[in-house]
């Protein structure tokens, strides 16, 4: 379903204006699903749950109703450390100037096979 996005709506508060902690809801978990054997777990979304076990059950019900997975990881969102987008350039800069890490850096004569 989708609403008519032109529906007049009252103004939204600024992001994060209502502190979640004030109402003490269930914590947020990020959900990772292994689609089938041989593949990595991939992030699929998030879920709220009171504890780890409930998070696994909720993740199963919400993200794998049609055999989308053979294994699920859940992790408390506040336990994830992430790089900051604002330091994108300096953080990833060390990989940009080392072109000799790529196989195309090396010129090999065409007649050399299997290389």
């Amino acid at each position: 379903m989708i609403p008519a996005d032109d529906a007049p709506a009252p103004a939204e508060p600024a992001a994060g204006e209502t502190p979640a902690a004030a109402r003490r809801g269930w914590p947020l978990y990020e959900v990772f699903v292994r689609g089938k054997r041989g593949l990595n777990h991939v992030h699929v979304g998030s879920i709220h749950a009171a504890d780890d076990e409930m998070a696994l059950h909720n993740a199963r019900d919400v993200y794998t109703r049609r055999n989308e997975g053979v294994s699920i990881w859940v992790v408390r969102a506040d336990h994830i450390a992430a790089s900051s987008p604002s330091e994108k350039d300096p953080f990833f800069a060390p990989s940009a100037d080392k072109i000799y890490r790529h196989p195309t850096f090396y010129a090999i004569p065409d007649e050399v096979p299997h290389l």
């Binding site: 379903m1 032109d6 939204e12 109402r23 269930w26 998030s46 987008p85």
Partner: protein, 319 residues
């Protein structure tokens, strides 16, 4: 938008370049406040619509005519709950809290799709809701899979994959009915008559009366105008109606070879506005039901939280 400092101007330029290059904006990227507010409003309304959309159909689960139909309807209504949760999760990446959004819904401070303020009066409505309402939803949602905001686009991809089942089960139900008795065929036609116009209204007001559309399109949130999507739905539905042998209740509906599209009549926009404003046939009932369910669940949410805290404390002592 505030581009008062060189830094802001640079962030704005980066954002604009990302959108222009058809790349995705991700949660921790800088974004204009208006973009964030628009997305929160739209995704929350979309999530609320999924959750409220469980009601007209959930009401028929116990009255489904066979175990097969009951299982299908149960699975569909469960999907709607799942779709609501994907979307609340996407909204939360913008810095809002799901509990807060739910509170806004039950306090009537946020909207949901006007279509769910119409009652499902017969079992044929279950078929027509799948065919029209989910069909219209697909028209609306497929372009949103390419929305500029990553988490919303990804939720939509997941939803669209599941929505196809919703539409097909509805159409198949109607096929079974039109191949049944005269009374069943009449039920289908009567249901089509009631749902056609409200379904056309699902695409929102006409383009000339849709002030937010242009900005949403500039931001890459929206890809097509309301009228374009409405036209697509009409053109898609007409041949489906022919196969069922039902008449769409619009005397102006006809193929226009010049446009390569169907001409059709104008929905009653006064009715649309009245339903949005809260005076549709089932607004009060739907909202009261949602509020009751939310309040009745409060002790369960609280008990689970306290139990989890107690277990965690015990584990700590034991360690």
């Amino acid at each position: 938008m505030d581009t008062s400092t060189p830094e802001d101007a640079e962030l704005q330029a980066q954002f604009d370049a990302t959108v222009a290059a058809d790349q995705r904006i991700e949660p921790r990227d800088w974004m204009p406040e208006g973009y964030r507010r628009t997305l929160i409003r739209q995704i929350a309304q979309h999530a609320h619509s999924e959750i409220m959309g469980m009601q007209p159909e959930g009401n028929w689960i116990l009255r489904a005519p066979s175990l097969r139909r009951k299982a299908i309807l149960l699975a569909k209504v469960q999907d709607e709950a799942g779709h609501g949760l994907y979307l609340y999760a996407a909204a939360e990446t913008l810095g809002v809290d799901r509990d807060d959004l739910t509170q806004r819904l039950v306090d009537s401070r946020q909207k949901y799709s006007s279509i769910f303020n119409y009652p499902a009066l017969s079992y044929a409505d279950i078929g027509v809701i799948g065919w029209f309402v989910d069909g219209a939803a697909i028209c609306n949602q497929v372009p949103l899979c390419r929305c500029s905001y990553g988490p919303y686009a990804r939720a939509m991809i997941r939803i669209c994959k599941e929505e196809s089942f919703h539409q097909r089960q509805g159409y198949e139900l109607l096929l079974a009915m039109v191949n049944g008795t005269d009374a069943q065929r009449e039920m289908v036609q009567e249901s089509v008559n009631r749902w056609w116009w409200p379904s056309l209204m699902m695409f929102g007001p006409p383009d000339g009366d849709s002030p937010n559309s242009q900005q949403s399109m500039a931001w890459g949130i929206k890809r097509h105008t309301n009228d374009e999507l409405r036209q697509r739905f009409v053109d898609m539905t007409v041949p489906q109606a022919e196969v069922l042998g039902v008449t769409l209740p619009d005397p102006q509906l006809r193929w226009n070879p010049d446009r390569g599209a169907h001409d059709y009549g104008e929905p009653d926009w006064a009715e649309f506005k009245a339903v949005l404003a809260g005076s549709g046939p089932a607004n009060a009932q739907r909202l009261a039901h949602r509020r009751r369910a939310h309040e009745n669940g409060a002790w369960v949410r609280e008990a689970a939280r306290v139990h989890a805290e107690k277990q965690a404390a015990r584990k700590e002592v034991a360690a």
